[in-house]
């Protein structure tokens, strides 16, 4: 039975990616007609790619985690904590390299903390990261108090203001590069196969010779690193480090991953789908903004979208397999 499923999967993946791209173009068309073409202007269209970079980076590393059957709910909190650390270090020392190093170290440490607990103790990732979600958020709030750190040197903002050919923002280029690296690693390197093996059947992966604990530790630490990178990109765009910048980011990132075709139960991952889904969410948010609907409507739609995706995918999986994974 498993054999049949495995052989069918690549075909399904390709068609789903196409469906997603068509959906993206359709949404773009809809938004264009609703905003009378404003969204299709190059400045707006490439401008919206800036806003999705942080979410996109997190979603890419979350794709890895969800492929193994895990989840990381604490991404938003790690990002907020990194941002606050960067802000406070720079304000105290006015030493930018030191601040950046502190930020990176914080991210890696948070990710490693998650990874260590999940890999070593076999506690389910969702509980661990639910606890660290409030832990990191709480630490960020304790450190910052009511202050908002908003003084950064000019050189820091350069990243967000320069464009390639006066059109394509550098952050987006960075996102694309990271995506390509992730996609290649996922489909070509042995680690990608390990991730899928762990997601399908952890015990079997172990007997196959995969070091499950180390792999899990690695991807959670990687997610921490990615979160600290996201926090820097965020701060170069909006220089205001406060603890609540990370709220709801986990939902957005998870929605992008699930919408991209990664199975929430693990075993099937799709970085390219995640990439397209991230762009789709960016178009949706910018479009709603241009129409004049606030951020909470966006979150509402996001929630509904996630529910629909989850239901749809599980329906597809169940009808294919008859028996659900239990």
């Amino acid at each position: 039975m498993e054999q049949v499923v495995v052989s069918k999967r690549p075909k399904f993946k390709v068609t789903y990616l196409m469906v997603l791209i068509v959906f993206l173009l359709g949404l773009l068309g809809l938004m264009a007609s609703l905003t009378e073409g404003t969204i299709l202007k190059p400045s707006v269209l490439f401008g919206l790619t800036v806003n999705v970079v942080e979410i996109g980076l997190m979603a890419l590393s979350l794709t890895f985690i969800i492929t193994t059957g895990g989840i990381d709910l604490s991404v938003g909190s790690i990002m907020a904590l990194c941002a606050v650390i960067l802000g406070i270090t720079y304000e105290k020392t006015t030493n930018l390299p030191l601040a950046i190093i502190a930020c990176l170290v914080t991210g890696v440490a948070c990710g490693a903390f998650n990874g260590l607990i999940i890999a070593k103790t076999k506690i389910s990732p969702l509980v661990t990261t639910l606890a660290t979600l409030s832990l990191f958020y709480g630490i960020a709030r304790i450190i910052s108090g009511t202050k908002i750190f908003s003084t950064y040197p000019e050189g820091f903002k350069v990243l967000s203001q320069k464009m390639l050919f006066h059109m394509i923002p550098y952050q987006f280029m960075f996102f694309v590069i990271v995506f390509l690296v992730f996609a290649v690693f996922f489909s070509r390197a042995s680690i990608g196969r390990y991730l899928r093996a762990i997601g399908h059947n952890e015990k079997a992966a172990k007997f196959m010779g995969v070091n499950v604990g180390a792999t899990k530790f690695l991807i959670y630490t990687l997610t921490g690193l990615i979160c600290s990178l996201s926090s820097m990109i965020y701060l170069s765009r909006l220089p205001a480090a406060k603890p609540d910048i990370g709220l709801n980011l986990n939902l957005e990132a998870i929605t992008a991953v699930v919408l991209g075709g990664t199975n929430i139960m693990g075993g099937v991952g799709n970085p390219s789908g995640t990439f397209v889904a991230v762009l789709l969410l960016g178009v949706l948010r910018k479009g709603l903004q241009l129409i004049g609907l606030g951020g909470s409507i966006y979150n509402f739609i996001l929630g509904i979208l996630l529910v629909i995706c989850l239901i749809g995918f599980s329906y597809l999986n169940n009808s294919k397999k008859k028996h659900s994974r239990s």
Binding site: I71, L73, I117, T121, K122, I123, S124, L126, V127, T128, L130, A131, T132, L133, S134, L135, F136, Y137, G138, I139, R141, I142, G145, P243, N248, N250, L251, I254, T255, V258, I264, M265, G294, S296, I297, N299, F300, I301, L302, G303, I304, L306, V307, L310, I311, S314, Y315, N317, N318, S324, R325, S326
Partner: protein, 331 residues
């Protein structure tokens, strides 16, 4: 069940620090110590302080029971906080129109059952992991708050709504505390004497084995989500009737309190293991920690970090315990 107790019997011959910590006995002693500390530290001696404390306990208790039952089956519901907000808003909205408690309480219950049922259908019918499903529902609920008339606020509620929350016996025991105690007593009886309770443990302990024993796990989980809706609605009424202004999003984030209470009380997050009286002790502990931190002058944002640390610690300790158990079992 029999095998489990046999293993435990074998283990009890040796001293186990991790095991001892998670036992409810020690927790109860700890709670009492904390209570004494709080009592001597603060203005707790005054009747007002005690009443506030009991009010905190009374609205946390039913919701924590609900979360305990859900966690016992191996599921989780992180939308319970926002669900509570919606239930409370519905009740307050009806009360504002001038209806009495025999109208607004059923309305809140109906809303709770609806929302709980929705979660249940998504989780059981479509096999979506409950944490992701309810994470999505949190945002749906938060979006609903915005769409509600006047942004999810109901102001200037009259005594037809607030009498329940403000009435006290002997000037310090709030009536809502009695209500939640009655609910707690009922559930203690329920967990001890009904077949359904056994099914909950069976589903949480080993879903596959439960199926083979003739239990339908999906049905049990679905019923539990409906029950959770009812209990959350009760909690909402106990919480909001103490206030004359109802703000639907004020309970956002409270789900962490419920989960903390359940987990601290010894409910295994993997399901299948846990006691309701443990949860009650957990509720007391959570309230005491919050109160103590307020009285010691910490800002409220310390509580996020503290909750996270508590959950992690307890879960880590139980995991260490489980590992030992498994090792023994294999031998």
């Amino acid at each position: 069940m029999a095998a489990n107790s046999r293993i435990q019997g074998k283990l009890n011959t040796r001293f186990q620090p991790g095991k001892l910590f998670t036992t409810e006995v020690l927790l109860a002693i700890f709670t009492m110590l904390a209570f004494i500390m709080l009592y001597s530290l603060t203005n707790f001696k005054t009747e007002a302080g005690l009443t506030t404390f009991l009010k905190d306990v009374s609205y946390l208790l039913p919701a924590s029971i609900a979360l305990t039952l859900i966690i016992l089956t191996g599921n989780i519901d992180i939308s319970s906080g926002t669900m509570m907000g919606l239930c409370g808003y519905a009740a307050a909205y009806v009360a504002k129109l001038g209806y009495d408690f025999y109208v607004f309480i059923p309305v809140a219950l109906a809303v709770g059952i609806m929302l709980g049922g929705l979660n249940g259908i998504i989780v059981t019918r479509f096999k979506v992991p409950s944490i992701v499903a309810t994470l999505a529902m949190v945002n749906v609920h938060l979006g609903l708050f915005i769409l509600l008339p006047s942004g999810g606020w109901v102001e200037n509620l009259k005594t037809n709504f607030t009498f329940l929350g403000t009435t006290t016996f002997f000037h310090f025991i709030p009536i809502i505390f009695i209500v939640s105690l009655v609910i707690f007593a009922f559930f203690l009886w329920f967990m001890k004497n009904t077949r359904f309770a056994k099914k909950i443990y069976a589903v949480g302990g080993n879903s596959h084995a439960a199926t083979l024993a003739g239990i339908k796990p999906d049905k049990v989980v679905m019923k539990l989500f409906l029950l959770e809706g009812v209990l959350i609605a009760v909690s909402a009424i106990l919480f909001y009737t103490t206030k004359s202004t109802v703000q639907a999003n004020s309970t956002y984030g409270m789900e962490m309190l419920f989960i903390t209470a359940a987990v601290v009380g010894g409910t295994s997050i993997m399901g299948g293991k846990g006691k309701l009286y443990g949860t009650a002790i957990g509720v007391f502990l959570v309230c005491i920690i919050n109160r103590t931190m307020i009285f010691l002058g910490f800002q409220d944002y310390y509580s996020d970090a503290v909750q996270g640390i508590i959950i992690l610690l307890v879960v880590l300790l139980t995991a260490v315990d489980m590992k030992k158990l498994k090792r023994k079992e294999i031998r």
